[in-house]
């Protein structure tokens, strides 16, 4: 009997990081400051830079959290791997893809404070849930259609980021400019995403979503407060958001229903979580937690179209490769 009681007690005591997904020990006692109109204050410049991957790598299956020692080792290894000043693969596409020196990158240096091994917190395996048979069929048809085109027949074959259209909502951490500016006014919350200078204006008026036939790159967001948590409900995405390069939502498109939660848990942290709800695509909904950490700023404009010479370079590169292939083919035929 005593042993059973002990086991039950022990079950409630372990492990520390599971208790609070925010990872902040002050979450229970902290009271967020208020804006002049009385909303919990989320204003400021925040960063979501982290080394934690969206999905738990297969090598870490079954391991939800790192110990402190493992976390330090993991961070060291990932920083070594990411260091673009390394030139291990000279003369390969992998070396070209690293683009430029490491000083241009700004990815953060730490995993999330919970030491979780994935940003996905639900399901517990840290992976995007399996697709429905219907979604698998759709993806296969799309892949077949895509295979009939070259990598850059048109700018429309390139992803939405390269085209400077959108980095998507929510914007997951990437190589640099992982910054967000939050501004609150009575009735609205606005979020500026530094990449790629996109602004979400979220009304808190309680009105329903816009008509279903109106589709937007950032969807249609409506917010409301549940205690100290700002809950934002977003629908009406354009189907093409499936092609965002840092895919927040597992290839979800027009049926994506996104539920985001922002809770300020201490002076320097917003516990940010989002749930992807798309029953047509996934066999269950799933939830991601990416803390937003106070960043010193300033935040800068990222006028993506201003100098996107890269797109012209990609298309010109594809034409040059086609020409070279055609010449090779012609030479082969001539020598027959």
């Amino acid at each position: 009997m005593g042993a059973v009681a002990l086991a039950i007690t022990a079950a409630f005591l372990v492990p520390g990081p599971v208790a609070g997904q925010s990872g902040s020990s002050g979450a229970k006692t902290y009271t967020a400051p208020r804006t002049p109109d009385g909303q919990p204050d989320l204003e400021g410049i925040w960063s979501n830079a982290t080394l934690t991957p969206l999905e738990r790598p297969a090598e870490l299956a079954g391991k939800q959290f790192f110990t402190e020692e493992e976390a330090a080792e993991y961070e060291k290894r990932i920083l070594e791997r990411n260091n673009a000043d390394r030139r291990d693969n000279q003369g390969t596409d992998a070396d070209v893809a690293l683009a430029y020196n490491d000083s241009w990158y700004d990815r953060g240096t730490k995993i999330v404070p919970t030491r979780r091994t994935s940003l996905i917190i639900d399901p517990p395996d840290g992976r995007i849930p399996p697709l429905t048979p219907e979604a698998q069929k759709k993806d296969a048809l799309r892949a077949e259609a895509r295979s009939k085109r070259g990598p850059a027949d048109s700018w429309e074959d390139r992803n939405l980021g390269e085209r400077c259209l959108t980095r998507g909502v929510p914007k997951l951490p990437s190589g640099y400019n992982n910054n967000f500016l939050i501004v609150q006014t009575p009735g609205y919350v606005a979020i500026l995403q530094e990449m790629i200078h996109e602004v979400r204006v979220i009304p808190l008026d309680g009105l329903p979503h816009i008509a279903k036939n109106i589709r937007q790159w950032l969807g249609d967001s409506r917010g409301h407060w549940e205690g100290n948590t700002l809950v934002v409900d977003t629908t009406n995405f354009r189907d093409e958001v499936r092609f965002t390069p840092y895919n927040c939502c597992g290839g979800a498109g027009e049926n994506l229903h996104l539920i985001e939660r922002f809770t300020r848990v201490d002076a320097n942290t917003i516990d940010y979580q989002y749930t992807v709800d798309d029953p047509a695509r996934f066999t269950r909904s799933w939830t991601v937690a990416v803390p937003l950490t106070k960043a010193p700023g300033p935040i800068y404009e990222y006028a993506c179209h201003e100098g996107n010479y890269g797109m012209a370079g990609i298309l010109a590169g594809a034409r040059a490769e086609e020409k070279a292939a055609a010449e090779k083919e012609a030479a082969k035929n001539a020598s027959r």
């Binding site: 596409d93 070209v96 730490k110 006028a303 996107n308 590169g317």
Partner: protein, 140 residues
């Protein structure tokens, strides 16, 4: 404990072999891995623009002919946040660019590794974001 850690860390090997691709667009689609270039010359113009800055430079060939090259770099935002400004790299500064030429054969390349002639890297700085938990190892 040490053994257990070694086992866990060894498991990272596979994941570490993957190469991250994080630039705004695919550099591998724009530049040719089979056309490495090493250019030494003086900066004629800096375009501090997004999504990527471009360094223009004059390169004198073995025949004495001067050719202007355009070198693609990263986002200016990162450098501005670290205190660099548009005056940090003056016209006339001599640099060495190791990179890959554009697939279409034009005089454009990526600045895969850009240094001063003495080997110092341009814009060398901290890799942190300056965010509280990035700076304070105890603030987890």
């Amino acid at each position: 404990m040490r053994t257990k850690l070694a086992v866990v860390v060894a498991g990272f090997g596979l994941l570490l072999s993957a190469v991250p691709v994080w630039a705004h667009h695919s550099f591998a689609a724009e530049f040719d891995a089979k056309k490495p270039v090493n250019l030494r010359g003086k900066i004629t113009k800096m375009e501090w623009i997004n999504p990527h800055a471009w360094i223009h430079m004059d390169v004198t060939g073995p025949d004495g002919k001067v050719v202007n090259w355009m070198i693609e770099a990263g986002t200016p935002n990162t450098l501005f946040r670290r205190g660099f400004t548009k005056d940090s790299l003056a016209v006339g500064t001599e640099i060495v660019v190791d990179g890959y030429q554009a697939k279409d054969g034009s005089n454009r390349a990526n600045g895969r590794d850009v240094t001063f002639p003495d080997g110092r890297k341009l814009f060398l700085g901290s890799s942190g974001t300056g965010a509280p938990y990035d700076n304070d190892p105890n603030a987890k």
